[in-house]
């Protein structure tokens, strides 16, 4: 079990960040925090997840 945007999310052993986000339904373009640290797009397909990992999927919004 991991957490994506504060929601519990079930994963299988050996799953990468990219695979989990695809299952979550994340829509490109997005940026990712993995356990509180920025994870570049180039690393998302190779970074393995562990139990209780926390992902934040971030995208553009209005700002001042």
């Amino acid at each position: 079990m991991i957490f994506i945007n504060n929601q519990p999310f079930k994963i299988e052993d050996g799953m990468t960040v990219k695979q989990a986000l695809d299952l979550f339904g994340a829509i490109l373009p997005y940026a990712v925090l993995h356990n509180g640290d920025f994870l570049p797009q180039s690393k998302q397909a190779e970074t393995l997840l562990s139990n209780k990992d926390v992902l934040e999927v971030i995208s553009a919004i209005q700002g001042g």
Partner: protein, 262 residues
Amino acid sequence: MNSSLNIYGTPLTSRLFIGSALYASPKIMLDSIQASGAEVVTLSLSRQNPEANGGQAFWDYIKSLGLHLLPNTAGCHSVKDAVNMALMSRELFETDWIKLELVGDDYNLQPDPIALVKATETLIHQGFKVLPYCTDDLVIARHLVDLGCEVLMPWGAPIGTGKGILNPYALQAFRDRFPETTIVVDSGIGLPSHATQALEMGVDAVLLNTAVAKANNPVLMAQSFAKAIEAGRGAYLAGPMAERNTASPSTPTIDSPFWHQS
């Protein structure tokens, strides 16, 4: 009349930076931004909700404008949060510009000056072009410039208040102490006359959002700001008259029909 503004080597014609938040609808946002003539638009980041299409519609609208993007770090309270936000913004928006906001007090959203300097140092080392949102404190500003900031963004008044330039003396001192630095007044502007005042003082540009987005007619207000900023810049370049304490007739009175030499 309006000589070019330069932001980290990028020349700009408009001296108005505009925000993309708080508009009643996407159409009003787009129409207002276009009416303002701004070439720089600010935006931010938030957790994605795939059920709401991940904010894709907003992103498509903003891209369609073809403007320079200035992502902010709004809502960040720590150096780590701000740096992470900047790194994500650079990847998403493909720009190394970052409007660095680090809240130090939730009452007036005043920037945390210590964290601001630390985050600026980290981000500049990582290749960012930092536009720090700061107060009008000259000492903090000196640290930011010494770290490599070519742009400073002092507040006029707290964010969203629309109170205008609360401390004109401090802002003028800011301008005078950093003559080689681009100064953009960020926050507190409520009326076009506030923007004119800033430009008349020699400030290079203003960044605003709420004043346009929350106007009864945002498009008309955006146009009004554009004119006000042009007027302020023109007045600064023209050089104002010296203020006097006593009256001085503008019409020559010598040899007028009613003139009597005593």
